[in-house]
Symmetry: C2
Subunit: 204 residues, 2 copies
């Protein structure tokens, strides 16, 4: 426990760099890119995370937790609709989706599953409140919202060619589609936690 100053600072840098790089390049981004972005050598990175997978898991866990926090922040907004849209915007801006990243499957731990469940509950509260206020369509659940987030987050490969202005229009269309009242009811049963759980089993 000697050189904590360097160590801790680097720890943060690595995590931040990993978030950026994975967001830009996807899960296949080389570890070297993360190290370079963090201004850190590979050795340093590998001392913290014995394998790339460990780094990805840690990142996923933090993303999920952060998603829950954003939902709570939305609940703090007195306006149910504005609180909801602010949550969506915040998640998209931060590259959050509350779900595993696409790409090669990697094992999802029970810890992540638990965190996700907790975060999802927060999102559900936000959704339910907006529905009760009559501003959000009533035939969706928090899972629909999260699924939508993963779709809107977009493929990393396209980030270069999808300027923020275009994403803004897409998001505008989707938000109008979420707003109550709505013309046509959605097909199929509402997704539940069991639905999500089943999807994620691919990753275990």
């Amino acid at each position: 426990m000697t050189r904590r100053s360097d160590a801790l600072r680097n720890d943060d840098r690595v995590l931040a760099a990993a978030r950026e790089v994975f967001l830009e390049q996807g899960a296949d981004a080389p570890v070297s890119a993360i190290a370079a972005r963090a201004g850190v050598g590979m050795g340093t990175l590998y001392r913290r995370y014995p394998a790339k997978e460990d780094l990805m898991r840690e990142l996923l866990k933090r993303n999920i937790v952060q998603t829950g926090e954003e939902a709570q922040r939305g609940l703090a907004d007195p306006d149910p609709w504005h609180g909801f849209t602010a949550f969506v915007h915040a998640c998209l801006d931060a590259g959050l989706s509350g779900a595993p990243s696409p790409g090669k499957a990697f094992p999802v731990t029970d810890e992540i599953l638990a965190a996700s469940r907790a975060a999802r509950a927060q999102v559900q509260r936000l959704v339910t409140r907006a529905q009760s206020a009559g501003v959000l369509r009533s035939d969706i659940t928090a899972h629909d919202v999260v699924l939508l987030l993963t779709e809107l987050r977009g493929r990393p490969e396209l980030d270069g060619m999808r300027p923020a202005t275009l994403r803004g229009r897409t998001l505008g269309i989707v938000l109008d589609g979420l707003r109550a009242p709505n013309a046509t009811p959605l097909p199929g049963p509402k997704p539940t936690w069991a639905t999500i759980r089943k999807l994620w089993d691919n990753y275990r």
Copy 2:
């Protein structure tokens, strides 16, 4: 011009297999997977298309042409809204987006650009008609629709974990968002052909 029977049949098989495999696995799918799916050896495939890129280009061209045809089919529908939604459904079902696939950039030929321009014009007619009828929000263009299609087509990696029923819900939300009248106007300027053209320049 002797063995046309085998040759022509295989030609179709390869194209069909390529479409399926690229849709399932993305642009990084190994050529061997396409050959296997087509029930054809690599040699056969490479005799038709000297490089993987050539195959991808041919496929892209056909997809674009088919997108235009779907738009025309939508125009044939007397109901402007139903014609429009049928077009969207058809494109999604067929894995069409009228745009280059994500993944490694590959050169877009002028031929493809021309085909795309023509197809886009058809989509625009479909869009304009629905707008004139007052059933489609007026602050979008065909380019918004195509951009939306590319987003909704989804990442290949997720196709396994995104059952059709979930995609149906997402699509339902988006279609409600596209339907007139709408609560909130979209941000930013309407995308034009120039906008798209600029995006695609990354691929040339």
